[in-house]
C-alpha cells in the first residue's frame, strides 16, 4: 500500500491511497489518515489507486470518519473503483460516507 499526502490550503488535506487496503495495511493507513485529520480540518481520501478493500480497511475508514467528525471537519472519499464500490454498497458505507467522482468535486463541497 502506498500513501501520499498533499495539503491544499490550510483547511484541506488530500490523502492518496493506492494498492490493497487489507488486514496487512489497514493499521498504517489508519494511523496516517488520523494524523492527516489532526493537521487539517477537512480530509479528502483519494481511493483511485485502491483495487481491493477488506473489512479491515472499512474499519480504518470508519475510525477516521468518527475522528474527523469529532474535530468538526468533513471527510470526503473519491474515485472508488468498481470492486471497492461494491464492498461499500454491501456494507452500507455508501450511505454513511460522502462519495465523489473527483477530488475537485470533494473540494468544492468543503468550501
Amino acid at each position: 500500500m502506498e500513501i501520499r499526502e498533499r495539503t491544499d490550503g490550510e483547511s484541506v488535506v488530500v490523502v492518496e491511497l493506492s494498492g490493497r487496503l487489507d488486514a496487512g495495511s489497514a493499521q498504517e493507513a489508519e494511523r496516517r489518515l488520523t494524523e492527516a485529520a489532526g493537521s487539517a480540518r477537512n480530509v479528502i481520501v483519494n481511493l483511485g489507486g485502491v483495487e481491493y478493500i477488506s473489512s479491515a480497511g472499512l474499519r480504518s475508514l470508519l475510525v477516521v470518519a468518527k475522528k474527523v467528525r469529532q474535530l468538526n471537519g468533513v471527510l470526503g472519499l473519491c474515485l472508488l473503483s468498481k470492486g471497492v464500490r461494491e464492498v461499500f454498497d454491501i456494507s452500507g458505507f455508501s450511505s454513511i460516507f460522502t462519495l465523489y467522482d473527483s477530488e475537485e468535486a470533494a473540494k468544492e463541497n468543503m468550501k
Binding site: 496487512g24 477488506s54 454491501i90 452500507g92
Partner: protein, 136 residues
C-alpha cells in the same frame, strides 16, 4: 489441493496466493471478478481464525480447494481452535448512521453476501468453514 501453515497474520499472503492458484486452474477458471470476491472472503475468514481461534497462542490452518459442483471453486478452512460457528453471529445493521455504527463486525457479513454458499460444521474437534463461488 491442500495447504497447511501457521495461523499468523504474516502467513496470510501465502494462503491467498494458494487460493489464487486454485481459482485460476483450468478445472475452476473463475472470472477475475469472482476471484476478487473469493479472495476477499478468504481474507476475512483467515483473519478471523488468526485473531480468535487460538487465544492461547500457536495453531495452524489448513485450506482445501476443490472444483465446486456445477462449476466454480469450493474452499474449506479448517482449524483446531475453540468451537466457533461464525455464521451464528447476528448480521450488523448496515443502515445505521455513522455515529451508531460499530467499529468492526463486517467481515463475516461480507463473506455471506459475496459467496453463493457458506457452511460451518464441527468435525472431530475441528472447525470447518466452507465457501462456494459458482462460475456465474
Amino acid at each position: 489441493m491442500k495447504m497447511r501453515d501457521q495461523a499468523k497474520l504474516n502467513r496470510l499472503s501465502g494462503f491467498l496466493l494458494f487460493i489464487r492458484h486454485a481459482a485460476t486452474a483450468p478445472d475452476t477458471a473463475l472470472s477475475e471478478d469472482n476471484l476478487h470476491k473469493v479472495e476477499l472472503a478468504a481474507e476475512e475468514i483467515l483473519v478471523n481464525i488468526i485473531q480468535y481461534a487460538y487465544p492461547d497462542g500457536a495453531g495452524e490452518i489448513e485450506i482445501e480447494c476443490l472444483p465446486a459442483e456445477g462449476g466454480g471453486l469450493e474452499v474449506s478452512f479448517v482449524d483446531e481452535g475453540n468451537p466457533f460457528d461464525v455464521l451464528a453471529k447476528e448480521d450488523p445493521d448496515t443502515s445505521l448512521p455513522i455515529d451508531e455504527r460499530a467499529i468492526g463486525g463486517l467481515g463475516i457479513y461480507l463473506v455471506k453476501r459475496l459467496m453463493d454458499r457458506v457452511s460451518y460444521r464441527r468435525d472431530s474437534g475441528k472447525n470447518v468453514l466452507t465457501i462456494v463461488k459458482n462460475n456465474i
